[in-house]
Subunit: 906 residues, 2 copies
């Protein structure tokens, strides 16, 4: 209970008890109504019931405290005084609206009731006063439709069958009348027809919902207030909050406001406007309006609205009258308000207005939603205009908006016309269009012919890499957000959808079935990677990354971040690309990745030979052949990154993946090793593991075969020495994967130092490097204090750490992740956004443990989370020094890091 | 550096600077020599160099501080004064021994050098003084043999080829002389022959080791001290410490003591005795002695020793003279010392003595090793005698000794039918059956294959340790009850027979002849360790838990433990067995285990059908058929455990394991499901997972298919209701496996409550149960506070928790665990003994987190660690309420829990 806390805040007549700072208490709409009123703008009088009353309402089991009743009565009296009418007055009744308003905008998710106060006692006086019976009955039928829907049906938790909602039933009744009369528009209905419809509406309401439609102003008002409170826990609202991560306990405020009418004839109107163009950011007033209409008509899209002004005209609406031309004075007043609002709020405003018999009324203002492109344009414009400072400009573009700018996407207009055949996991955003192929080879062949393809696979494996690169988009039936396909595609910034259960591929017939549709190789397919939508048609794409503002914006961004941004790159090409995107070093160079992709045939054969060796002699011979390839790859990367650190992670190959499958490769390997194919097969079988993710990998391999580690150390140190002699400044950092114990690191350091001394003696120079470890197994995080005695840096491998902490296999999680997200067991896919409570706690434990022994311990992140804005926020908070992500996500990580710093310092 | 800390502690002439409480500083031997001296017993004078000097020795790179040199000189002077002789004196030289002595006894693992001080300068005076040149040269050849072996070879890290050790070479030289002369015993060698042998020995030493044998008393003394220090890091010592879990940094003390001689003729002797029988615990003085011999002769088992007294006589040695009969006065003095030592130390003592020309000298006393059976007998006897209190009695039997008691013996009925081929000394009781192996390596190889072996040796040496451990039983041709094999096997509770003269081994042919029977490697052999009987056939074994003392002892044990002991049981038979062993409930009933083993054919087919279902209808049908089987199994278990809690863990089947492999089973399943075999195969393939351990298992399955969980809830509640109606008191506890989030538990609780209400309504009664969760995934432990909001109990599944925390797949860890233990990266296998630093930290976090939200949260352990004594100690410390283990380990867990409580409260 709130006891004697203030529950109701009044506004109107250029004054208000609340103001724009009270969003938490008054909701966004209420706070802004108060603020506009204080700014002297024409706001119809009314009052806001605080969000705290929403909780109180639920606490009281759906009731109102005496305190609230008293305050509402007092505020209503004030409103009546300001408007010169009385609520429920038979002669000249005041009508009010009742609208929800949460702290954070939830457009279309919550409810509104208009025209409250119309009942058998007030209708005659209202008709007399307005002299417009048609207007009154139209208002009354709207009240019945909204109230029965919001208050009597939804708020009561009634769930009608599809199409049997009361609102739909009433709509159909009205349509039937219009049809019978041959009317095209609602406005053609006469007063008499509307009156009769209202009577029939009330009968229908009683019939369907079992309750009489309330016939006093008082009952309608309190019913509406309760309906708004209940709408907070409506299905739509809950679903929306889940998506937008809005806490359930915020509650909604209720705004009770005097009605003004845009539907009182040809000098009345209603409209919605943006202070700048929300699609492209142009600094021009932009909006739509309808004559003789109520607000909901514009939002609902029932009638095609008119353009606000010349600047808003398009080819679709240039024949329609603009407000600028139709009501120049009102337009001028509105345009002035637009300027004052922007100067006051320092941001683009989304406003709702009504014109009643030539007089402008402001019903709402709020910060307007916008596209990524518009966000960037507005941020830079407003910075230039001196309206905002640099930090604010940085915060004005969200990382997902930046992501949007950097990816080609399906053209929304074109996408709207198509119907999605299936939905999968949105593994890598952007849009892709191409013809269907079922094998990597076909994708490569098509690419060679300059054709775009979509590669369809059950799931992908490293052998598919070339084909994946060649395809425009990738679609798989299995796998989760961090499956092979997802990881690789995201790394390349290529559109990818995974775990699409509906996909039934017949590789023999080269067909794919999605629900009732069967497509064949060569048919067109389009993917919306941001939403996981699959289309069986060709949809246009658009590219938005060419914006010249981008570079300027990123320069400002970099001034405000604390964390460094590195990249995960395994090839010179990736390194170059990442440098272009602003990477300050390589946080993860996976030595085994040189065996994937093009030009890898020779080293891959050597690696296979090494893996399949049985004796130290065989292994040594294979490693000696492998070393020059590793050295060359290391050297070219260090050269590109001259003067910037490069973290080389020792080999962590999933051994069995490197066992050759094809006949000729097995024969080749048998020849190389001088053994039979049967022996090759036998050795391959021995490498099979039940749970390879928790098997003989990472440092475990190097503990068993120290030679493998030594070869890599030698390659790295030799490459470093050669570059030093050539005048470069290589900064190698060596990292041990999959460690679980400090002694593994000590053990490896001994081998590493031995090789360093050998190379130094041979090359006659002294080599500097850092020696560190991955923290990717829970035990490593738990024993980080010991680890930091030898390790000079930590890099948290949050992918594997998430796997082990959850016991979720990345490759298998697809079978149940959907159920976990769908049942709200998990709020987000932990492979996408760091799980703060579990994995995050381990990362924090690791950082603190490590720094307790080594105060200057450098801590980085090299999992997928290094490119995820929410995760970056957390990493910034716990003192991570840098994140490393795929080249394409570097700009996003830079922006997210800046946001994190700015927000944390506030 | 120790600076001016005291380094040397003197003893002798019924006084001592140290005492029995200084084990850490003086080692066990040194502390007890000081204590015996203080007790007024005849101890040859000498001094102990502290264990701290061992570390100092290594710190100084193998050197001695000036402080140490000074203190040794002073202590030696005192010893000389007490013994009336001077070290290095040409006329009447003092000889000393130099022995190692760690805190904890390490029998045969470390080294001793006797007769130090004999050199060309002192030999003539010694001969003159003793008038016994044969004695002097025999002592000298022993010095050369021990010193060259311990100090000049082993301590220098020289690793000779097999059979080429200096000691073996010198042994062969002596054997050749004896053979040439036709001597059978060493004592037949004349003074002249020994003198010549000593000269040839010294030449050989120079030739083999490249150094002159030292010819001054001083050089010999310091060489010996260093040799003892170095022996601490000898291979044998390190291997022993690894097995016994003795820390590497304890170090050894060095005891320098005046020599007394048991080999000065027929009135001299040496012996080893136990104050009670170490094999069966009888309260009778027990021992062996040899006339005219030095101590090493008894221990080495070269000569068959005489019985100490009548009580010690067996059929093998009853013809030999007892000390009791041969030297009654000395025996009486020794027997009085035995009583005083037991009354002083309140425990069975293992003593070494020497009789020099009729005078008794005490060389050592220590707490004697014993078999499990003896430990139990002695604990209960001493408790009865009022020598110790109950808590001490409980601590006197270690969990591993109890394990030994519970280990099998030969089944008398089966043994009766066989004929013993030979009789040896019953060195360590119990029964062993296995195939014959002749080398430790073979024993280890067979153990790795899971095969049981009997290891046959002439006699064992410390180098055989690993193989001895791997064998099921040990049989030697030579040695007495205190030989190396006997001591080691007894320590482990492993069946062992020694001194079996009839055994003729041909190591070349790998055959063994016992009387007229010749067996070869791989043939079956059975040993009765309690009677010393050897059989050449395979005999059945049975367990020995029927001992009446056992029940009494366990009653006392249960008075002192805090933790409850439950069992992991999945069948009524297991439950019954565990009840017999004292289980207080079932901590883990795995519902899927009813599908393993006998009588599982029908339910297994139903389970397969359920797993391979595609639609809810198919699944529902299969579950309906499955439910009666689950209910029957649940009901019979609850009935057996009447009044005791039973934790039912929901199905956690590795899905793919239940996919039928054989043709007929696949056909059967296809028929059952009404689909084709090809479809069965396809569905099976869909269940394949890359990492099944982290796949769609445990609660994840129930999230996807709530029907599966509901069937189990219904079976459990129906079984409970039926038993209640039959007058039983069932206490079901329902446990959710593989949870990672509190919401999984909330979600399951909803389903569970729904079914409970249904069953209650149907059965017209009210059912009580507890609802809890496994904590077996790191995230569960990290978010335990939230879990405890719904979960009423936690059970830590430390097996899986270890897998995830380490990222070690149990199924695959074999490929590298050996490297991890061998390289000392891990001290112990974490699947055997809880990893306190990592997994243990998570368990503790889980307990604390859970109790922060629910103070009375019950916390149990149901992994393998629940039966491991070291782990139980840790669980007791962190406040675990109960452990659950396999039925056979219940008594061991009860004892370990009592030890933990008693030790923790001290």
């Amino acid at each position: 209970m709130l006891e004697n806390k203030k529950r109701v805040y009044r506004f109107g007549a250029r004054k208000a008890e609340g103001d724009g700072s009270k969003r938490e208490l008054l909701g966004g709409k209420g706070a802004n109504l108060a603020e506009m009123s204080r700014l002297g703008m024409p706001v119809p009088a009314g009052f806001t019931i605080t969000t705290e009353c929403c909780a109180e309402y639920y606490e009281l089991g759906g009731g109102y405290s005496e305190y609230l009743k008293k305050e509402v009565a007092e505020a209503l009296a004030d409103t009546e005084k300001l408007m010169g009418k009385k609520f429920g007055d038979p002669k000249d009744p005041l009508l009010v609206s009742c609208r929800s308003g949460a702290r954070s905008s939830m457009p279309g998710m919550m409810d509104t009731i208009l025209n409250i106060g119309l009942c058998s006692a007030t209708i005659p006086g209202m008709i007399e006063k307005t002299g417009n019976p048609r207007f009154v009955y139209d208002a009354y039928r709207r009240l019945i439709m909204m109230y029965s829907d919001v208050v009597m049906e939804k708020a009561e938790g009634i769930e009608p069958a599809d199409g049997q909602g009361i609102r739909q039933q009433l709509d159909r009744m009205m349509d039937e009348v219009k049809k019978a009369k041959g009317y095209k528009s609602d406005t053609e209905l006469s007063a008499e027809e509307l009156k009769e419809l209202c009577d029939r509406f009330k009968v229908k309401v009683k019939e369907v919902l079992g309750e009489e439609f309330p016939d006093t102003a008082e009952a309608q008002l309190w019913g509406s207030i309760g309906g708004v409170f209940k709408s907070w826990n409506g299905k739509r609202a809950i679903a929306y909050r889940r998506i937008e991560k809005i806490p359930d306990d915020w509650g909604t405020a209720v705004n009770v406001q005097s009605m003004v009418f845009g539907n009182m004839g040809e000098t009345s109107a209603t409209g919605v406007a943006f202070s700048r163009n929300p699609a492209n950011g142009d600094n021009r007033f932009y909006g739509e309006w309808l004559i003789n209409a109520q607000g909901e008509d514009v939002v609902a899209g029932i009638r095609t609205p008119n353009p606000l002004n010349d600047a808003t005209k398009t080819e679709h609406n240039r024949h329609l009258p603009s407000l600028e031309a139709a009501m120049p004075d009102v337009y001028k007043e509105l345009d002035e308000i637009r300027t004052r609002l922007e100067n006051h709020f320092h941001d683009m405003q989304d406003i709702e207005f009504t014109i009643q018999e030539g007089k402008l009324w402001m019903l709402q203002c709020r910060i307007g939603k916008r596209t990524g492109l518009a966000a960037l344009q507005m941020a830079m414009d407003m910075l230039g205009e001196g309206m905002i400072d640099e930090k604010t400009a940085v915060l004005r573009v969200s990382p997902s908006q930046l992501d949007e700018i950097l990816h080609p996407v399906l053209d929304p207009a074109s996408e709207k016309k198509a119907t999605a055949l299936a939905v999968g996991l949105p593994a890598s955003p952007g849009g892709a269009v191409g013809t269907i192929v079922f094998t990597p080879e076909e994708a490569m062949a098509a690419a060679a012919r300059g054709e775009k393809t979509i590669l369809l696979r059950e799931e992908t494996s490293p052998e598919d890499i070339e084909g994946m690169r060649a395809a425009s988009g990738i679609l798989t039936a299995r796998g989760g957000m961090t499956s092979h396909a997802a990881l690789v595609a995201r790394g390349w910034g290529k559109c990818c959808i995974v775990g699409c259960d509906a996909l039934k591929i017949d590789f023999g017939k080269k067909t794919v079935t999605l629900g009732n549709t069967t497509l064949k190789a060569g048919d067109w397919m389009s993917l919306n990677g941001a939403k996981g939508l699959v289309y069986g048609v060709k949809i246009d794409t658009m590219d938005a990354s060419e914006n010249p503002l981008f570079v300027n914006f990123m320069t400002i961004v970099d001034k405000y971040r604390r964390m460094g941004i590195r990249t995960n790159a395994d090839t010179p090409e990736d390194a170059l690309r990442a440098l272009k995107f602003g990477a300050e070093g390589i946080g993860l160079f996976r030595i085994e990745h040189m065996f994937y992709g093009k030009n890898s045939e020779v080293p891959l054969a050597k690696l296979r030979k090494m893996i399949m060796s049985r004796t130290d002699e065989e292994r040594k011979a294979a490693l000696d052949e492998l070393e020059p390839f590793i050295k060359a790859s290391v050297k070219s990367t260090l050269k590109i990154m001259d003067g910037k650190p490069v973290v080389f992670r020792l080999l962590d190959p999933p051994l069995h993946e490197f066992v050759p499958k094809s006949e000729d490769k097995r024969e080749e390997l048998a020849r190389e090793l001088g053994i039979s194919v049967a022996e090759v097969d036998k050795r391959g079988e021995n490498l099979h593991e039940v749970n390879p993710m928790m098997g003989h990998r990472g440092v475990r391999l190097h503990v068993t075969y120290p030679l493998i580690a030594e070869t890599q150390y030698r390659a790295i140190f030799t490459a470093t020495a050669e570059l030093m002699k050539e005048g470069f400044n290589p900064i190698p950092e060596i990292m041990i994967p999959v460690t679980i114990s400090a002694r593994e690191i000590e053990f490896q350091k001994l081998h590493c130092e031995k090789i360093r001394l050998e190379v130094e003696a041979h090359e006659h120079l002294s080599i500097k490097y850092r020696f560190g470890t991955m923290i990717e197994i829970p035990r490593a995080a738990l024993t980080a204090d010991r680890m930091a005695r030898t390790a000079e840096f930590f890099s948290f491998g949050t992918n594997d750490l998430t796997q082990m902490t959850f016991g979720f296999s990345r490759d298998d999680v697809g079978t149940f992740m959907g159920d976990y997200l769908g049942n709200k067991i998990l709020d987000a896919d932990p492979f996408q956004t760091i799980d703060v409570k579990g994995v995050g706690k381990l990362v924090e434990t690791g950082v603190q443990g490590g720094r307790s022994k080594r105060a200057d311990l450098k801590c980085g992140i090299c999992g997928e989370h290094g490119g995820d804005p929410d995760s970056i926020m957390f990493f910034n908070k716990i003192g991570i020094d840098y994140v490393s992500c795929s080249p394409f996500r570097v700009p996003i990580a830079r922006l997210a890091a800046a946001h994190a710093s700015i927000n944390q310092n506030r």
